[in-house]
C-alpha cells in the first residue's frame, strides 16, 4: 500500500526503471570539439538514470545517508525527495588533442566513463 501511495501510480501506468547505467554516446564532432580533439572523435560515456526507491538494492551501494533519505521518502514523499541516482565509479579515457600552442598532447582524462551507478 505504501508503495502505491508513494508514487500515486495509477493502474496500468508504466513504472520508472530503477537506478541503472544507460547508454550515452558522446560525439565530439557534434559538440563542435573536433577542432581541437584529434582522437577519439566519439566514445561511450554512459549515464545514470532511474529511481532510487525503497527498498534500495545492495548493488546500488547506497551510503547510510541515502538509505535514511530513501526511508524518509518512502514514509512521506512530500517531506523528503528520493536519493539521487548518480555515477559511483568512473574510469578515464585517453584523448589526443591540440593545445593552445598548437602542440599535440596526449592526456589521460579521469572520470570520463560511468562504470557503475548508485544511490547517494
Amino acid at each position: 500500500t505504501a508503495l502505491n501511495n508513494r508514487h500515486g501510480k495509477r493502474h496500468g501506468k508504466k513504472t520508472k526503471s530503477r537506478c541503472s547505467k544507460k547508454a550515452l554516446h558522446v560525439n565530439f564532432k557534434e559538440l563542435g570539439w573536433d577542432d581541437w580533439i584529434i582522437a577519439p572523435l566519439d566514445y561511450e560515456a554512459y549515464h545514470c538514470e532511474g529511481v532510487c526507491d525503497f527498498p534500495l538494492r545492495s548493488h546500488l551501494e547506497p551510503t547510510n545517508h541515502a538509505i535514511i533519505q530513501t526511508l524518509m521518502n518512502s514514509m512521506d514523499p512530500n517531506s523528503t525527495p528520493p536519493s539521487c541516482c548518480v555515477p559511483t565509479k568512473l574510469s578515464p579515457i585517453s584523448i589526443l588533442y591540440i593545445d593552445s600552442g598548437n602542440n599535440v598532447v596526449y592526456k589521460q582524462y579521469e572520470d570520463m566513463v560511468v562504470e557503475q551507478c548508485g544511490c547517494r
Binding site: 564532432k29 557534434e30 559538440l31 563542435g32 573536433d34 577542432d35 581541437w36 584529434i38 582522437a39 577519439p40 574510469s91 578515464p92 579515457i93 585517453s94 589526443l96 588533442y97 591540440i98 593545445d99 593552445s100 600552442g101 598548437n102 602542440n103 599535440v104 598532447v105 596526449y106 592526456k107 589521460q108 582524462y109 579521469e110 572520470d111
Partner: protein, 277 residues
C-alpha cells in the same frame, strides 16, 4: 553565433523527438559556444585551418593507440606510462632550420617553444626525438661508431651522448635522447612561462674530435614534412584532476589574444597611415 550551427541535424532530431534539454544545461552550453565563437569572426574557417595545420607525429598517435587500447582492456594506462606515472605527454615540434648554403653541416640547433607548458603539471621526464633519413652517402668509418652529442645552446657541457653503429646509420630511424636534465633548472621568462629551449647537436667520429657532416647521416632538415621534424616529448603528471573546460578556456584565451594582436597591428597601421597623410 546564430550562423554557427554546431548542433547537428541528429541532435536536433533527438531534441524534437525526445525531452527538451534542461534549461540550465542548454544555457551553459550556449554560453560556452558563445564564448568560443565570439572570440573570432571567421571561426569556422579558423578552426578547420587550425586542425589541418597541425599534423600529429606517428609517435603521438602510437602513444594514444597503445594507452587507449589498454584502457579498453581494463588496464590502468598510467602503469604503462613508464614508472614516472605521467598522465600527460606533450610534443613540441622543432622550429630550427638548417642553412642550405652551409656545407658541410657540422652542427644543428634545435629550438622548441615550450611556453604552453602548464605550471599546474609536474614534469617528470623529457626526450628529444630526431629523425634520421636513410643516406646512401654514408661511408663506413674504420675508426669505430659515430658519437652523437647533444648540448644545451650556450654550453659546452654535453647533455646527452650516444653512439651510432655505422651499419645502423644507413637505415632511417629516430634517435632518442634524454634531455630531462635541461628541464630541472630551466628558467621561466618574465611572463612566468617557460623560456624557449635550445639544443645543439654534433656528431664525431669514434673517439676523435673530428666532426661529421650531419647531412651524410641523413640529419638534414631542409624540406622535411611535418612528421619527420624533430620533436621534444615532455612527460608530466597533473597535480590535480584535470577538467576538460580548462582546455576550452585556454583555447578561448589563445584565440582572444590572437585577435587582440591582430587588432593592435591594425591600429598601428592606421596610425602610421594617418601620420603619413
Amino acid at each position: 553565433f546564430q550562423s554557427a550551427a554546431v548542433i547537428s541535424p541528429s541532435t536536433q532530431r533527438r531534441n524534437k523527438g525526445g525531452r527538451a534539454p534542461h534549461p540550465d544545461a542548454e544555457r551553459s552550453s550556449k554560453l560556452l559556444l558563445r564564448e568560443m565563437f565570439s572570440s573570432s569572426p571567421v571561426t569556422d574557417h579558423l578552426r578547420e585551418d587550425l586542425k589541418y595545420a597541425v599534423v600529429p607525429h606517428d609517435y603521438m598517435i602510437s602513444i594514444y593507440r597503445t594507452y587507449s587500447a589498454a584502457e579498453k582492456l581494463g588496464l590502468n594506462a598510467s602503469f604503462f606510462l613508464s614508472s614516472k606515472s605521467a598522465n600527460t605527454i606533450t610534443s613540441f615540434v622543432d622550429r630550427g632550420a638548417d642553412d642550405p648554403l652551409l656545407s658541410p653541416l657540422r652542427r644543428q640547433r634545435y629550438l622548441f617553444d615550450v611556453s604552453a607548458l602548464s605550471d599546474k603539471e609536474e614534469l617528470v621526464g623529457a626526450e628529444l626525438r630526431i629523425f634520421r633519413k636513410a643516406s646512401k652517402e654514408v661511408q663506413v668509418p674504420a675508426t669505430g661508431p659515430y658519437n652523437l652529442q647533444l648540448y644545451p645552446c650556450r654550453s659546452e657541457r654535453p647533455l646527452h651522448s650516444r653512439s651510432l653503429d655505422p651499419l645502423d646509420s644507413r637505415k632511417p630511424g629516430w634517435e632518442v635522447m634524454d634531455v630531462w636534465d635541461m628541464f630541472k633548472d630551466h628558467p621561466r621568462s618574465a611572463t612566468g612561462k617557460p623560456a624557449p629551449l635550445c639544443f645543439h647537436l654534433k656528431v664525431t667520429l669514434g673517439r676523435s674530435d673530428t666532426e661529421v657532416d650531419l647531412r651524410q647521416l641523413g640529419l638534414d632538415r631542409t624540406g622535411r614534412p611535418q612528421q619527420e621534424k624533430a620533436i621534444l616529448v615532455v612527460y608530466a603528471r597533473s597535480k590535480k584532476r584535470e577538467n576538460l573546460f580548462n582546455e576550452m578556456k585556454e583555447k578561448i584565451k589563445s584565440r582572444g589574444s590572437g585577435k587582440e594582436e591582430e587588432e593592435e597591428d591594425r591600429g598601428l597601421q592606421l596610425k602610421a597611415r594617418r601620420r603619413r597623410r
